[in-house]
């Protein structure tokens, strides 16, 4: 087991900058998720750690050693490829046994059989050991590929979207299984690449959000959720997505308020950090679950601001309903229990209640940095 330090790694493919000054470190035994959209550089990061991609500059340290000159086969890392990379000429057993039989481990046959059998059972592919790889479904292939990793001890596991091709039900149960293995039994340092924020939030000790080859934020699931560093990070977590409203900051008797561009929304923004000043154009982010749909009756808590608008779209999601409300020119999403929206129709007038303390303020661009503490 080992720590992983990625230090200012830069990698270009021709004119394309795949990784731009990527730095993060993973502690011993930590489960680290790399979250980002496709093309963000997740796989390239993983392959740089594995030594399969030679960075143009920057370093990768493993277990306190500069690994630059260590060949991939001597780094003792196990990687699960998104393409599976199963050996087509071998059956499932031989695929999973491959790392155990390699010159690095060279385990005796009995132990190979025992380990492969155990891992295959755990992943639910125990009955497929004699099958050829071409006789497997994509979900089965993915589990075999994962098995080829979990079957062996390693300094670290590098997992590239290991659940992406499973069907929804299997994905959920495998996620739970993976969490149990990773945190409980193996306690092996793991870098887990995914585009699915739910996977990241539920599995990770810490999450690194990556976009366009840059790490935007590294933090615990709590940190990236509560205090996203940029608008992009805020938008990467949660469904429905966080709603953004563009506008500016104005000074009002010593307190700073936010006014949307069209003037329809005006709320106080407490907790601004020192970098923000009146007159600055910003955008605020409001998570749908931080809003309460005010159905007229009942009293409004003193701490909450009231926003008036009309229903723009209604989307029923089982027991809950996503309501998109138009306030002036801005669209804001809110999630309400099904019962609360019973009589509601498009263009009906509604009010939303918002605790200003939950509002996130960012600079006014996609890369806009967080201005709230």
């Amino acid at each position: 087991m080992a720590t992983i330090d990625v230090r200012s790694v830069r990698k270009t493919f021709g004119k394309l900058v795949a990784l731009d000054d990527v730095s993060f470190s993973v502690n011993d035994g930590e489960f680290f998720c790399l979250l980002g959209p496709s093309g963000a550089g997740k796989t390239t990061t993983l392959k740089s750690i594995a030594g399969l991609v030679q960075p143009d500059s920057g370093e990768v340290w493993l277990g306190g050693q500069d690994a630059g000159d260590i060949e991939p086969n001597h780094r003792n890392l196990a990687m699960c490829f998104e393409s599976y990379a199963l050996y087509p000429q071998h059956n499932v057993f031989d695929n999973m046994a491959s790392p155990l039989r390699s010159p690095v481990l060279r385990l005796p046959d009995a132990e190979v059989r025992e380990r492969v059998g155990r891992t295959a059972e755990m992943l639910g592919v125990g009955h497929l050991l004699d099958r050829g790889v071409d006789q497997l479904s994509n979900g089965q292939r993915q589990r075999v590929a994962l098995g080829r990793v979990l079957v062996r001890p390693a300094n670290a596991y590098l997992l590239d979207e290991p659940l992406a091709h499973l069907d929804a039900k299997l994905r959920t149960s495998m996620r739970a299984e993976l969490k149990r293995i990773a945190h409980g039994e193996l306690n092996t340092t793991t870098v887990y690449v995914t585009h699915d924020y739910v996977e990241a939030l539920s599995l990770a000790d810490r999450i690194g959000v990556i976009k366009d080859g840059r790490i935007l934020q590294v933090g615990t699931p709590q940190q990236v959720w509560d205090t996203p560093e940029t608008a992009f990070v805020a938008q990467a977590f949660g469904k429905p997505r966080i709603s953004f409203v563009s506008g500016g900051l104005v000074s009002d008797n010593g307190t700073i308020r936010f006014i949307s561009s069209d003037g329809a929304i005006t709320i106080p923004v407490p907790g601004l950090d020192t970098g923000a000043a009146a007159g600055e154009s910003v955008r605020i982010g409001i998570r749908p679950r931080d809003l309460v749909l005010h159905t007229g009756a009942g009293d409004q808590p003193a701490s909450h601001e009231r926003l008036d608008g009309v229903v723009y779209v209604l989307e029923h999601l089982g027991r809950q309903t996503e309501v998109t409300v138009r306030i002036g020119e801005s669209l804001v999403s809110v999630v309400a229990p099904r019962g609360d929206v019973g009589g509601l129709a498009v263009d009906d007038k509604v009010s939303l209640l918002l605790d200003p303390a939950t509002v996130h303020v960012f600079g006014d661009s996609d890369d806009g940095r967080r201005l709230t503490r």
């Binding site: 030679q54 493993l62 690994a67 260590i70 001597h74 780094r75 380990r115 001890p153 039994e185 193996l186």
Partner: protein, 315 residues
């Protein structure tokens, strides 16, 4: 069921990273070059005689004159001023262009017919490659015998169709015609095989759409099949044109360049000069000019091919 906790550390865990063998960046960068060294040496072994040959064109090297002197561009000026050379150029171009056109048209036709997947087509597809696998020199000899009035079957066939003055390859025009026919006999399957592979890889939906729209066969062929097939066909055309420009075996076996100089291509001229008369420098000058011609044409065609392929790939 713990996976690693139980495993004895001495067996299941590899050597620590500190002991891992190290390979420097420079050595890694060197790897592809090391793999290519033998091939580079081989190239050098081929390019050396090539450049030696080019240098001979500036000498008056022959078997009669084994201690050659530098003559500058004399060989070139002599050659470019001689009728024999320009006849050779004309013969080479006539042969190469007609053979390439004939092979392309015939090959495309055969491919289209075979693509209809009739029973006869399936049967014939198996024997399609037979002429292609016959050594060209042997093909030429086979045809030489076939065309001989006293031995071959062509005379009786010609007589049957009312041709009474059949004389094989004795006339200059017919010698060239038969040389082209023999070349086409061997290499039409080459074009057909590549065109057929192309036809079979074309997407089905545009053709179904055209069929639904009631487009005529000719319109479908001209507007759909041919443009989509062109990248494939072009590969075949380039190969054939390059080969035909330097074709030796077929002409040598069939006519040896005759009658007269009616089928004396540049390669045949060079052969006669360099091997028969042992005038090495003269022969090489022929060859160098042919090489330059082939090189320039191939460069242009390959560039064009790349552009076509990029466009087909949607880049």
């Amino acid at each position: 069921m713990p996976l690693t906790a139980e495993a004895p550390p001495d067996r299941a865990s590899p050597a620590p990273l500190a002991d891992a063998p190290r390979v420097s960046r420079r050595r890694k960068a060197l790897r592809p070059y090391l793999l290519s060294v033998p091939a580079v040496l081989l190239c050098a072994g081929i390019l050396y005689p090539f450049f030696l040959g080019v240098s001979y064109t500036f000498f008056d090297f022959s078997a009669a004159n084994p201690q050659p002197d530098v003559v500058g561009f004399d060989n070139f000026s002599t050659l470019l001023g001689s009728d024999a050379f320009w006849t050779s150029v004309r013969v080479t171009l006539v042969f190469a262009l007609s053979a390439t056109v004939l092979e392309t048209v015939l090959g495309l036709g055969v491919a289209l017919l075979l693509n209809r997947s009739s029973l006869i087509g399936k049967l014939f597809e198996r024997v399609l490659i037979v002429p292609l696998m016959v050594a060209p020199i042997l093909a030429a000899i086979m045809w030489k015998l076939l065309l001989l009035p006293e031995v071959g079957w062509v005379r009786p066939i010609a007589n049957f169709f009312g041709v009474s003055n059949y004389n094989g390859t004795d006339s200059p025009v017919m010698a060239m015609v038969w040389a082209v026919v023999v070349d086409a006999w061997i290499f039409t399957p080459f074009v057909a095989i590549i065109a057929l592979a192309g036809l079979r890889s074309l997407p089905k939906s545009p053709f179904e759409a055209a069929s639904v729209d009631g487009a005529s066969w000719w319109l479908t062929f001209r507007k759909l099949t041919l443009p989509m097939l062109w990248p494939y066909l072009l590969v075949a055309v380039i190969f054939r044109l390059m080969d035909n420009l330097k074709m030796f075996d077929v002409i040598f076996g069939l006519t040896s360049g005759g009658p007269g100089d009616s089928t004396t291509t540049l390669q045949i001229s060079a052969y006669l000069e360099a091997i028969s008369y042992a005038r090495y420098s003269r022969g090489l000058t022929y060859m160098f000019l042919l090489w330059a011609l082939v090189f320039v044409i191939s460069m242009i065609l390959v560039k064009y091919l790349r552009r076509i392929q990029d466009r087909a790939a949607g880049v």
